[in-house]
Symmetry: C2
Subunit: 479 residues, 2 copies
C-alpha cells in the first residue's frame, strides 16, 4: 500500500519546488478541466463543473436574499456600444473577439463577444428606466465571456470563462455606494464561509481599477505560493456609463437625473483559488460545502459477506441526511482508492470492513489534516455532518493561519521586495501615485492589491518611493 501511495503522489509535481507544474498536474489529473482545441480555452469536466454548480447555487441564494434577480442579455454587442465609454473601450478593445460574418454575409457593423456586459445592459436599462419608481434595478446574469488572452492557465486566465456579473442602477449615489459595499461583503462572506478562503477586502488603486469605474473594490486571497488572487470585484461606476448611455429617470422632485450604477463579478477563477488555497502534495483538498463528493465510502475486504451491503446501507443513510456520498465498490486496490480519492480532495473517507461491522463502527479519515478516528455506525446521520462542519472550519482556520504567517509589514522598498519574493503579502504605506506602482511592477513584478478600510497608518512615508504616504496598501505578486 505504501508503494501504491508513493507511485501515486509522484504523478503530481512537488508542490514546494514546482508550484506551477503542481497546479497543472492537479487540475488535469483530478479531471477538473482539460485544454480545449482553440488556444487558451478550457473544457470544464464534470468533476470541475460540479464544483461550479455548488458555487453557483450558494452564491445565487445570497444574491436573491439581497434582492437581486437573474436575467440574460445577448452575448453579441455592437462595436459602437463598446466605444461609448472612453476608458472602457481603452481597457477592453485590445482583448475582444470579433464576429465579422454571419452565415454567408459580412456584417455591416462588426460585433464583439461580450468581455463584460456593462454596455449592452446600459442600453437596455436606458430603455426600461423612466421614473424613480423603476429604481433600483438589480439584475445579475450567469454566463460565459470571452477575453482574448495571450497567456492562459485553466480557471485562472482563459479566453472564455464562466462568471456572474451583477448590474444595478440606483436613484442616489448613496444607494449605489451601499450596493457596492454590500456585494463586496457578500463575496467576502461567500469566500470565507463557503470556499474556506480568507480574503482581504479593500479598494483597488486607480491603475488597477475596472475600465470605466469610479472606484473598484476587491477581495484578494493568498495562494499557497504566497501570490495573490483577485477573487472578486465590486465596482462603483458612478454616472460614467449612465451619461454615456443616457440612462435617466424622472425623480420625485420632477427633474430628470442620471442614475448611479454598480457592477460586480466573480468567475470560475474561484475554483483556481480553491485549489491553490487548500491543495497539498497529495492533490486537491475541497471544503465540504463545495465538494461534489463529501464522503467516499470504501468497503474493506468487500468479498466477505455483508460488507458491501453494510456499506450501501451507510451510503443510503448519509444520502438521506443530505450528505453527498459516493460508494466506491470498484475492484481497484484499497491503496489505489485511498490515493485516488485523496488526490480528488474528498473531505472524508469512510472505511468499513468485517471487523468494523462486528464492532458496530467504521473508520473515517479527514482529507484536511489526515486524522483518523473510529465512529459508531449508529448515529452517522448526525456525526458525519458534524465532522464535515469541523473540516470546513478547520480548513478556513488553517488557511487563515497560513495567511497570517505570510503577511508582514514593511517600512522600506528593499524589505518590501524581499518579503514578497519570499512568498509574502506585504502591508505597507503607499503614496497613491500611479508612477510609483508602475515602476515597482515593471522592476519587480509586484503589484498593489488593495487598500484595507479604516486601517491605521503605519508610517508617514511611502514604503515604496519615500514620498508622503496616503494609504495602507497590500503588495504582492499576483495571478
Amino acid at each position: 500500500m505504501a508503494k501504491d501511495k508513493n507511485e501515486f503522489v509522484n504523478q503530481i509535481a512537488d508542490i514546494d519546488t514546482d508550484f506551477p507544474q503542481w497546479y497543472t498536474d492537479v487540475v488535469l489529473k483530478t479531471e477538473l478541466v482539460d485544454y480545449g482545441p482553440v488556444k487558451g480555452t478550457m473544457v470544464i469536466r464534470p468533476y470541475g463543473y460540479a464544483i461550479w454548480e455548488l458555487i453557483q447555487q450558494q452564491m445565487d441564494a445570497r444574491f436573491k436574499a439581497t434582492g437581486h434577480v437573474n436575467g440574460y442579455f445577448p452575448m453579441l454587442i455592437p462595436q459602437s456600444f463598446l466605444m461609448k465609454e472612453a476608458e472602457h473601450v481603452e481597457g477592453f478593445a485590445p482583448e475582444v473577439a470579433w464576429v465579422t460574418k454571419g452565415g454567408t454575409e459580412e456584417l455591416a457593423e462588426p460585433l464583439v463577444i461580450r468581455p463584460t456586459s456593462e454596455t449592452i445592459i446600459c442600453d437596455m436599462y436606458a430603455k426600461w428606466t423612466q421614473s424613480w419608481r423603476d429604481l433600483p434595478l438589480k439584475i445579475n446574469q450567469w454566463c460565459n465571456v470571452v477575453r482574448w488572452e495571450k497567456t492562459t492557465r485553466p480557471f485562472l486566465r482563459t479566453s472564455e470563462f464562466l462568471w456572474q456579473e451583477g448590474h444595478t442602477i440606483h436613484a442616489t449615489e448613496e444607494e449605489a455606494t451601499a450596493e457596492v459595499m454590500q456585494m463586496l461583503d457578500v463575496y467576502r462572506d461567500f469566500a470565507e464561509n463557503v470556499l474556506a478562503m480568507p480574503v482581504f477586502v479593500g479598494q483597488k488603486s486607480e491603475k488597477e481599477k475596472f475600465a470605466g469605474a469610479v472606484a473598484t473594490y476587491s477581495m484578494e486571497a493568498m495562494m499557497k505560493d504566497g501570490k495573490a488572487l483577485q477573487a472578486g470585484t465590486s465596482h462603483n461606476l458612478g454616472q460614467h456609463f449612465s451619461q454615456a448611455f443616457n440612462i435617466k429617470f424622472l425623480d420625485k422632485d420632477g427633474s430628470l437625473k442620471y442614475v448611479w450604477q454598480t457592477s460586480w463579478g466573480t468567475s470560475t477563477r474561484l475554483i483556481g483559488g480553491l485549489i491553490m488555497t487548500h491543495g497539498d502534495k497529495r492533490g486537491l483538498a475541497l471544503p465540504p460545502k463545495v465538494a461534489p463528493i463529501q464522503v467516499v465510502i470504501l468497503p474493506i475486504a468487500a468479498f466477505k459477506p455483508g460488507v458491501t451491503e453494510k456499506a450501501r446501507e451507510v451510503a443510503e443513510t448519509l444520502k438521506a441526511a443530505g450528505v453527498r456520498v459516493y460508494l466506491d465498490d470498484s475492484d481497484n486496490s484499497a491503496g489505489w482508492k485511498f490515493n485516488q480519492w485523496e488526490m480528488k480532495g474528498v473531505p472524508i473517507r469512510l472505511e468499513i470492513g468485517p471487523r468494523d461491522i462486528e464492532n458496530g463502527c467504521c473508520v473515517i479519515a479527514r482529507r484536511d489534516n489526515f486524522e483518523k478516528k473510529t465512529l459508531p455506525l449508529a448515529g452517522l446521520a448526525e456525526t458525519i455532518p458534524a465532522e464535515l462542519d469541523s473540516v470546513q472550519k478547520g480548513m478556513y482556520e488553517r488557511a487563515l493561519a497560513f495567511r497570517e504567517a505570510h503577511t508582514v509589514e514593511a517600512h522600506d522598498r528593499a524589505s518590501l521586495i524581499a518579503a514578497v519574493n519570499e512568498g509574502k503579502f506585504v502591508r505597507a504605506m503607499w503614496c497613491g501615485e500611479r508612477e510609483c506602482e508602475e515602476q515597482l511592477k515593471r522592476e519587480t513584478g509586484i503589484s498593489t492589491r488593495n487598500m484595507p478600510f479604516g486601517a491605521e497608518p503605519i508610517d508617514e512615508v511611502c514604503a515604496c518611493c519615500g514620498k508622503k504616504a496616503k494609504h495602507v496598501m497590500y503588495f504582492a505578486k499576483a495571478y
Copy 2:
C-alpha cells in the same frame, strides 16, 4: 373596475383574430423578454428568466436522476471541426456566426460560435475514451448557442438562445438506442408534468432529422393557433460522428471499436411553447410548477387596520409551506392589480379584506378557469398547495382536450390540407418519400411532424400523394 379591465385587455391584440401580434404583445408586455440591439437577439428579462430557472432546475434533476452529469465545453469551435461530418456541415454552415479576429490580430483559422456542440465534444470524447471502462459517458451542458437566423421571434427562433444539450457515447448500439428513447421520454414527462403541455412523441422524417443523425425523435406540441412546436429532440447519431472524429474504445474482447452516440436538446423555446399552449385573451397563464409567482396576495381596503398585517402573515405562512408568493401592497387600484397579475399569468390570486378577516377566510381566484372560492384562513398551508396541484392538472387536461379536439385523421390530400388550414393536426398515412413532403411544404407550408410509435395503419396509401403508405405521420404547420 370593469373599465380598468377593458383598458388593460386592450393592450394585448385579440388572440382569436391576430395570434402573432397577441404573442408579441404578451411576451413584451408581461416583461418576459425585450429585443436586443443586434437584429434577431433577445434579452430575457427577470420574469422570463425566472421561468427558465424553474425549467432548468426541474429538468436538470431529471437528467441527474438518469445518470447524467453536467460539464462545459468551449463555445468557439475551429472551422475544420465543423467540416468533418459531411451532413453536419451542410446543415449548419449556412447559419453560423464567424469569429475572424481576436484582439488586434486576424485569426489563422476562423472560429465558429457553437450552433450545437457535437463536433467539439467529439474531439474531447476521442481524447478521453480508451477502453470499455470509460463508457458510457453521459454529459449534458447548459449554455448559449448562436444560429444566424433570417426571421426571428422571441423564444421561438432567435440568433442566440439558451439551451441544454446532452451528449452521450456508448459501447453498443442497443445502449445508445435505449438512451435516445429514455431522453425522449424524460422530455415527454417534463413537458406533460411540469409544463402541462401535451406532446406527440415520434420519429422525424429523413428530411426533418438532425444534420448528421441516423434518426431524430421529437416531441411536438400543439399551440393555440393549431400550429406545431417542435419542443425537444433526441438524436441517434449512430457512428457518424465517432467515425468522423475517431472515437474508439478497446472492448472487452480486445478489439478496437467505434462508440455509438446520442445527443438531445431543449431550449428557451419551451417558454414560447408554454405561452402559446396556455395563454388566453387576458395574457399569460402559467402552470404552477414553472410560475415564478404562484400566488399573488392582494390586500383589499388595506387602509383598514389589520388588513396588511394579516396579508403579510398569510404570505409568510405560504412561503414557509414552499409556495412562491408575492404580496402586492402597492398603491395601485385593485382593478389594475387584478389585470396586471392575470396578464402575468399568476396561477392563484388571493384576496383578503376586512370582512374576510372577520370571517376567518379569504377569496382565491384561479387564473386557469377564473373560478373563485372562499377558503378558511386556517389551513392555507395545505389548501393552497392542493389548489396549485389542481390548477396544474386542470391546465394539462384543458390543453389535452384542446389538442384532441383539434387533431383529425385525413385520407386524402385535399382534406389533409383543409384540416391543417383550419388549425388542426392531421394524422394520416404517409409514403415516406422526401419528394412528397417537400412538395407539400412548398405548396402549402404544411410539414411532416413525427411518426408515432407502434401506430396502427389507417389506410393503404399515402394521404398526400396516393403512393403506397409506409408510416402513420402527423402533419401540421409549424413554428
